[in-house]
């Protein structure tokens, strides 16, 4: 077993990350996860913590375009990287197509999984604008939802991909 010293302190270091197009320099220790940095130091609380274990997907953000789990990503590994969170999906007041689709299809109820879902869905549609149902499921298998049963979420992605699904909520 490796050594662990309760009292040892590590050096803090400055990490430069771009979040939703804005440049940030944050002071972190190696043990700080990206999710803590986003939520506590930068103040973007849209990314949620559901488990700390890298399973539920509530902390999903895009790192250089790839959907990753911020709760098991060291902040120090993100130096020089571009990160997108749910706060970066809209352009000003204009929601992205997938955000509108989520509202149209009832793809969220309690909303806690929603940020992570939107990021996984955004990454999917950017890579594969017309995904099949199997591809949708594969892309979102790491995002747990307890409220919706996933039906509304699938319909939202299909709507956003232009599959001609009608909204069930009225604008």
């Amino acid at each position: 077993m490796a050594d662990r010293n309760h009292n040892s302190k590590s050096m803090s270091r400055v990490v430069a990350i771009e979040v939703n197009g804005e440049h940030h320099e944050v002071t972190v220790k190696p043990r700080h996860m990206l999710v803590e940095v986003l939520r506590e130091k930068i103040g973007l609380t849209g990314t949620k913590e559901g488990c700390e274990q890298g399973v539920c997907g509530a902390c999903t953000v895009l790192l250089d375009g790839r959907p990753i789990l911020a709760c098991i990503t060291l902040a120090v590994e993100c130096d020089g990287k571009k990160i997108r969170t749910v706060e970066g999906l809209a352009s000003g007041e204009t929601l992205s197509a997938i955000q509108e689709a989520f509202l149209d299809q009832g793809a969220m109820q309690c909303g806690f999984c929603t940020s992570g879902m939107l990021m996984s869905a955004t990454a999917l549609l950017e890579k594969n604008p017309k995904p099949s149902l199997a591809e949708i499921k594969k892309a979102l298998e790491g995002n747990l939802c307890r409220c919706t049963g996933y039906n509304g979420i699938v319909d939202a992605i299909r709507q956003a991909s232009g599959e001609g699904v009608d909204p069930i909520f009225m604008r």
């Binding site: 999906l89 509202l103 009832g106 999984c113 929603t114 939107l118 996933y150 699938v154 909520f169």
Partner: protein, 780 residues
């Protein structure tokens, strides 16, 4: 009836934009300067005496600001149930003895997580391990380890240990009933330990400031949280403010007081700084409150046409180390037995048994999924044995509109019969039924049906909901409601009702909700009454405000108020539409000339207006609800008979919700409950050994992923209607629809394979075992 603008339509969720942009603030997102981190010391033993507890090293660690044990509390107990028969029985921190793994013993507040964790590790504690018991049948034995003395009312009648509570109910004479039956069968069913699986972990931040306690916590009702915090902290209610936050899913697991909420508050009172405690997921899966495992013994006698003559039921709840909601689930199991079908003779007994497990909480349906699974499975078996199809036997027994229930309630416009007929027709049930077992190949398809009933808005503190509608100068309303949106869409529903009653646009309605200082009391989001109770209160409040504005307009025009009509925030004289005044001008007029009277509408609603309280949990005497919902659900499953792997392919839910206020929100509730039911049916189980939880992670507690998603269709049977200005009756859709579909899945598996399973989950092992047994039997 005039055209409705919002009721019955599906406007977008009010909280939708916040949730899709990340703006929605949940308890873990609240930031206060100077916040300390709180952590809880939990018992590593299932049953033990605390022999020595020394906090000195923890207190001495730099960065630690406070450490508490039960000695730092007022010693005031709390409980899910607090009645004379079932008084509060749990302290906020263990006193001298722990009765489950994970029970809270002490709490620390420190400047960061590392120091808080180190402080916990510095607490010196010695235990004397006591014998523990985990199975309720074992716990009932006279020589079982005593967790708590059996209930005084039960002790003298029954020779059982560890009884937290007992429910007995019945009517008629079951022995005569069985004697008169053409066919009697007895079966035993079991439903496993499951948990809620809300994505948002429990999170609380408490701040004691200026002699008042401010709390942000993940809950199902701020009124209840305030009450329990105030009581256990020995503070006046008005000194405790529970603030509004968004809540990330609850399903019954965030109702009553949790130790960490008390601890955050107490630690803040001692340190004068905000204290935040967020539960980690392993602790939630292993030490927080799960749903109730039930063992159910059902004996049913029927005539040869399938009509139920008599039923005898015993339910045993594995209730954990304190009473929790165990005494409620055994009462509810009776309730959910007697709602859907006529049972001329009934004998019911429920026992809630202490075991060395964490306390239990309600879980969506609160006994209904378990008992309907049992009853509907047995009914299908009875039907099969008698050569009756599953639809006919249900129609024969289903309650009809306006039937009187044995407890004195009435089912009013019960739509159950129409639900069954519609479900059978839409699913093409009788064409598909009975085909699965005849096919070759390894994948068998089956169809099954289940029926359920539920109740809405029964009486429990605070019994009723108040709503206030304040008119703003610009003619739009601000609604103050204690109603809390936990995902079900209460803010949207209330907005729709207020918009409809006031004739304003739904975007004009602002909601201020679930803040115990600013908003009136509310029954909470856990008694299936938000739409019916809080909604009617909102209707009344809006109507009250509307009437005040009409009165002012009548005064202004000097005409009879009955000649006035409203359209688009304008009041006008029906006989001379040129006489018109906008809401804005009414308000301005009121301020300028009517002594500045504000225009505030007040509404209040509760169910069971003639009843002082809820029925007796122990005897079931007393009227329970004026609002019964009904449903029939059909499941289509696929089973691989080589591997036992099975899945839900399609679910159809036909429910009598009265009428849907927002059909898309109802669909969301249906989809979510179908998902929860398939998890219950196939995947989910909290597995334990000697009181320890083996699978306290999302990986190993198997909630449905998107792969498990089933096709989910729903249809309403409309039995009520909405008229502006009149009370309405909607029936709940948020909890009752887990039950019949669970039963339907069990029945569908039997249709597909011939295997009748009597315990959930329906694992591949159980299915394979059943398939093999049938294969062996068919050879003989």
């Amino acid at each position: 009836m005039s055209e409705l603008n919002y009721i019955g339509k599906s406007p977008r969720r009010k909280d939708g934009p916040d949730k899709v942009t990340g703006r929605a603030v949940y308890s873990q997102d609240i930031k206060l300067p100077g916040t300390l981190i709180g952590r809880i010391l939990r018992s590593p033993h299932a049953h033990a005496r605390i022999v020595r507890l020394d906090l000195s090293k923890a207190l001495a660690l730099p960065g630690v600001k406070a450490v508490i044990t039960v000695d730092d509390t007022k010693g005031i107990k709390h409980g899910f149930v607090e009645t004379p028969r079932y008084p509060p029985d749990q302290e906020v921190l263990a006193r001298g003895r722990v009765v489950y793994v994970g029970e809270e013993i002490a709490a620390v507040a420190a400047i960061d997580h590392l120091i808080a964790q180190q402080a916990l590790e510095l607490i010196e504690i010695e235990y004397e391990i006591l014998p523990a018991v985990f199975d309720p049948i074992e716990a009932m034995k006279s020589d079982a380890p005593q967790i708590h003395p059996s209930h005084p009312k039960v002790k003298d009648e029954l020779p059982y240990s560890n009884i937290g509570g007992r429910t007995t109910a019945g009517w008629g004479d079951v022995e005569t009933g069985f004697a008169q039956s053409d066919y009697v069968r007895e079966d035993r069913f079991e439903s496993q330990l499951r948990t809620h699986g809300y994505l948002e972990p429990h999170a609380t931040i408490a701040h004691w400031e200026n002699d008042r306690l401010n709390v942000w916590t993940s809950s199902m009702g701020t009124s209840v949280k305030r009450a329990k915090l105030a009581k256990t902290l020995d503070l006046p209610f008005s000194a405790v403010r529970v603030h509004k936050v968004y809540v990330g899913g609850t399903f019954g697991g965030k109702i009553d007081l949790y130790s960490h909420e008390y601890c955050a508050a107490r630690l803040s009172m001692m340190t004068r700084r905000p204290v935040r405690i967020v539960a980690n997921r392993e602790a939630i899966f292993s030490a927080y409150r799960h749903g109730q495992p039930l063992a159910m013994e059902i004996k049913t006698g029927v005539k040869k046409d399938g009509t139920i003559v008599a039923q005898q039921i015993r339910v045993i709840n594995n209730s954990g180390g304190y009473r929790g909601s165990g005494v409620v689930v055994i009462f509810l199991a009776w309730g959910f037995t007697m709602i859907p079908y006529r049972i001329p003779n009934l004998k019911f007994e429920g026992l809630s048994v202490y075991t060395n497990y964490p306390v239990r909480a309600p879980q969506r349906g609160h006994g209904c999924p378990q008992i309907r699974f049992a009853i509907e499975s047995q009914l299908d078996k009875i039907a099969e044995d008698l050569g009756i199809d599953p639809v006919s036997i249900r129609l024969r027994n289903a309650r009809e509109p306006w039937e009187q229930l044995p407890n004195g309630d009435n089912v009013h416009e019960a739509g159950l019969i129409d639900c069954i007929k519609m479900a059978a027709e839409k699913s093409d049930f009788l064409k598909k039924y009975g085909k699965g077992r005849k096919t070759d190949g390894t994948i068998r398809r089956g169809i099954g049906m289940g029926v359920s009933g539920y109740f809405g808005g029964s009486l429990i503190y605070p019994n009723g909901s108040g709503v206030i509608v304040k008119m703003n100068d610009d003619g739009t309303p601000t609604v103050l409601t204690g109603g809390i949106d936990v995902g079900q869409g209460s803010e949207t529903i209330i907005s729709q009702i207020v918009a409809e009653e006031l004739g304003v646009g739904i975007d004009d309605v602002k909601i201020i909700s679930s803040d115990t200082d600013a908003t009136p009391q509310d029954i909470g989001a856990w008694i299936s009454g938000m739409t019916y109770v809080t909604g009617n209160a909102a209707r009344q409040a809006a109507g009250n405000a509307r009437q005040k504005m009409l009165d002012i307009a009548a005064l202004r025009f000097n005409i009879d108020v009955r000649n006035l009509a409203i359209k688009d925030k304008v009041v006008f004289n029906r006989n001379d539409p040129s006489q018109r005044i906008s809401y804005r001008d009414i308000i301005a007029y009121s301020i300028a000339t009517r002594r500045g009277d504000t225009i505030i509408g007040e509404g209040f609603w509760r169910t069971m207006r003639d009843e002082p309280t809820h029925p007796s949990l122990a005897t079931t005497k007393g009227r329970w609800s004026e609002n019964y919902a009904f449903s029939c659900q059909v499941a289509e499953v696929e089973v691989d008979i080589e591997t036992g792997e099975a899945r839900l392919v399609k679910a159809l839910t036909v429910h009598d919700c009265g009428f849907p206020i927002n059909p898309a929100l109802v669909k969301g509730q249906v989809d979510g409950q179908v998902s929860m039911a398939l998890g219950h049916a196939f995947l989910e189980e909290v597995t334990t050994k000697n009181g320890y939880t083996l699978n306290p992670t999302w990986l190993d507690y198997r909630m449905p992923t998107i792969h498990e998603m089933a096709e989910s269709d729903d249809a309403d049977v409309i039995t009520e209607q909405y008229n502006v200005g009149k009370p309405y009756r909607t029936k709940e859709v948020g909890e009752g629809l887990v039950s019949a579909i669970l039963a339907a899945i069990g029945n569908a598996i039997c249709d597909a394979t011939g295997v009748r399973l009597t315990s959930t989950p329906f694992t591949p092992e159980k299915i394979l075992k059943g398939v093999r047994k049938l294969a062996r039997e068919s050879k003989h």
